[in-house]
């Protein structure tokens, strides 16, 4: 009898597992070296890689990746030296997306509402209600959020404090205590983000200004397309 019960449970479990969402996203474009950490394996990936729940993407220096979820609702762009875990699960007809940015920078754009869209960091949770944000996490877990359109909410994991960050605003949190929300000052914004602030950024293009030892500046334009 026990064996029958165990087999029945295994059967039901396997059926339920079969009903789970399999692939939840794919890489639209990659540049440079992007590593996929899945279970215990790490492999470099390219454009068109299928991603499943809990996949972790790691971008090396001067490397980028654009990721699109299978519900077609949203795109993430991973900047260099970032680690992002893709978390998504099917909720009835919708796909709830709760990605985790461990460190680095990610830009996201939500074009239509189909399920939740959140990005978690080591210290905060960002709920995206609008369309376009940029999120930075340093190696201490401190989080800075820029909202370029729509609005988003930043919540501290530790004390549950929340702040709404409207279009044109930026917020900063160490993970505990007050969340500092101010207007984005374009001059203080890193140069490579000016395009997002101005609304002129071509999604597939990034410009980075480099300065050498002699103080000469040079702009590198990276075409993601």
């Amino acid at each position: 009898m026990k064996t029958t019960i165990v087999l029945f449970i295994l059967l039901i479990s396997s059926l339920l597992m079969g009903a789970e969402v399999d692939h939840v996203a794919l890489t639209l474009q990659t540049n440079g070296e992007i590593i996929l950490n899945r279970a215990d394996e790490s492999t470099p990936i390219n454009t068109g890689e299928l991603l499943i729940d809990k996949d972790e993407l790691e971008s090396m220096e001067e490397s980028y990746a654009a990721v699109k979820f299978v519900d077609g609702s949203s795109v993430l762009r991973l900047f260099p030296l970032s680690i992002l875990q893709i978390n998504a699960e099917k909720n009835e007809d919708e796909l709830d997306k709760r990605s985790f940015l461990e460190v680095g920078t990610v830009w996201s754009k939500v074009t239509k509402k189909t399920g939740l869209f959140e990005v978690e960091t080591p210290t905060t949770v960002i709920s995206v209600r609008g369309t376009e944000i940029l999120l930075e996490v340093d190696d201490q877990g401190h989080t800075r959020l820029y909202t370029f359109s729509g609005e988003s909410v930043m919540r501290n994991k530790a004390d549950g404090l929340e702040a709404t960050v409207q279009k044109g605003q930026t917020s900063f949190s160490t993970g505990v205590g007050m969340i500092d929300v101010t207007d984005i000052n374009r001059d203080e914004l890193p140069d490579e983000y000016h395009g997002y602030y101005d609304g002129t950024e071509t999604p597939g293009t990034i410009e980075i200004e480099l300065k050498n030892d002699q103080g000469e500046t040079r702009t590198i334009r990276i075409q993601l397309q």
Partner: protein, 799 residues
Amino acid sequence: MKNNLFITLIILSVSVGLFAQVDAFHLPPIGFRSNETPMLSFEVRSGFQDVDKATIYYREIGSTSYEQMDMERGTETNPIFSVVLDMTPKQGLEYYFVIEDRFMQSYTLPENNPETQPYRTIVVQAPREPENNFVLLSPDPDFSNIKENFVIAISLFAISDFIDYDSIKLVLNGRDVTNRATITDNLLVYRVDKPKAGKYYYQISAQTIDGETIRSPQYSSDVRIKPVELPLGMSGRLTTTSWLQSYKGDQLEDETEFNTNANLSFEGQYRRLRFRSRLLLSTLEDKDKQPVNRYSLQMGLPWWDLYLGDHIPEYSSFLLSGKNIRGFTSTFKAKDWSFTATYGNSARSIDGILNESSEGDSLAKRGVFERQTTAFRVEVGEQRSAVWGLSFAKNKDNINSLSEDHYINPQTEMPVVTPKDNIIIGTDAQFAFLRQRLVLGAEVAMSFFNSNIIGGALSLDSLNAKLNTDVDFPIGPEEIESIFVINENVEPLKPGLNNTAYKAFVRAVFLRNYLNLSYSVVGSSFNSLSANYGNKDARIISLYDNILLLNNQLAINLGVTILSDNVYNKKEYTTTSTNYFTQIAYLPRGLPSFRVGFTNSNSENDAPEPGEDEFVSQFHMTNRNITFGMGYDVRQIPLAPTQFNISYNILNSRDEINKNFDDRKNTVTLSANSRFEELPLSTTISYSYTGNTNERIPIATDETDPQIETEKYGYNSVLLRGTMDFFENRLRPYADFRYSFYSGDITGQTQQLMNIGARYSLTRYTSFATDLGMRLFQSENEESDYSRLNWRFRFEQRF
């Protein structure tokens, strides 16, 4: 008794419609789907050769001012005027057409009160088609580089629970490539190996577990390997169109006309500097007409926009709106405010034509003064929340731009056209709440208008003498002449409510309702030469509601517009025009779609019934329009799925009191568009009939015993058209034939119109098209018979 301008205009528009030399017809489309850019056209059934120009005036339902666009002229053998609007309506579209003929006569569609009773077409949100359940994830135009990595990824996420995975089929450029694709629970992924330059068409299909086959739209992607890579990321387009028209008949001398248009546009970006340019050159450019050529250069930075050349700046609806200004417009944008300045010409000077004869010279055509427009606007806030604007506009005719010969009638020595001066000052505000679901707005403007500045400003004494007043103004008119010319022609001399205009509106979007309420008042002396603000001396209340039901497939809209004149009781009688309308459009997936529309307008004044031997311009006219349309795409027809459409329109215009006219027009149109599956052929068969019954009392009739004359005539038209596709749509030849005739109580006439032509895409960037058409016109009056031949050639090069 004062002349009632309003009545005159209405009667004029009706009579123009009745005795028009140009017979034009437009049937509004059933509806537009959301995100669809409207293409609108009307057919010229007779008098096409006499049409000089056609303009569409259009606006989003709920807006109080019209935008305008010139329409593209067809040919003698394809006698339509068409336009693709540069906007996508969200709730609905209101529009009307103005047709100008070469005899300087204007016609409108619809014929009566087009500004307040325009055509209305509603917008139905695109229903969720089964094929929309396939979502194309890759290529994504913003991210994918298909030259290097051409990955086709189609999401099955939305239909993963009810499709048979074994039935999934991916067809790429006509080849089934399913076996080389990766299919998972949610995705189909296919990598195109070493893509070559060209266009790639692909489509996915699958069977549902119910056995129904569902297909995605046919996707396409261009792999562009440009022949020349331009610097600064520039791209653009060069289009040239040449056409030849030849006339042969008895009434006029045989003639041949050849014209060419060239349109060059390009755009690019250097760092944050964006630029865009357009150059349109035409052999139709004529110094005796307003400009056809267009030159524009637009540059933009995040904090600054500059437009040089031809541009249509939008300030506010009473000040500067919908008018092309040739000059410059510049906007400086700070975070919370912006400043815009405009300077240029809204009209250029055109010499008149002098008729010299032994009996004395006369002006056969009056000249036009150059009109200079200057405007400024300061705006604070942002559209998403609250914005306030303060604007100023000045329009002044340059009196030196025309010599006296061209505006003074030599016989009377009086000006036949006068230079004007016009200042408008206005302010407007808009507040948005609940994420712009509720928007409140208001605008007020005051104008100063001088209808004749010949002679310049008067001295204060002269002005007082002319006006028989003794007003002690702090500043003499001569001192401010450079700002505004004050003389006896200022309307009105003493500013008041009559020279103001204001409006207020509320827009609300809730529970799939789009509700719009607006109220506007334009004084009888309000003048703005730089805006299309509609009627003067008018009070307009407009209520409109658009309701979407049944998963956005059913749209119901209803509204009422009440227009009355005599805003400040300066006239003896007030004329009120009440227009209410409703439309229902149902566009379900895979089922017949239909539209029913009803419009009723009632225009009357409050004049009493005239007594004996008394003339009172009592007035009451009605106009009713009922439209029914139905369409069904019968995909079940083997080999040739066919879209059938039928529409029926009843129009009745009647003079209720004086019984001067009672006109009825019934139009029915049937069409069938077939797409052959086994042949690269699509065909159209269309039939249209319009029956007119016009009853009227001739002007010279005996009023005690009026004899009603009844005129009945009909218009029949049959159109046959076939289009073929070869080489993956690169070569598209076509041929069509239209036969139409008028019959009944008018001079019988028959037309046969034939066209053949082809479009050929040589490469992704280069294409040609040519058409050859013939028109044969025969009339019971044989002297009117003529034939016309036209040929057109179009070349397009993208770069």
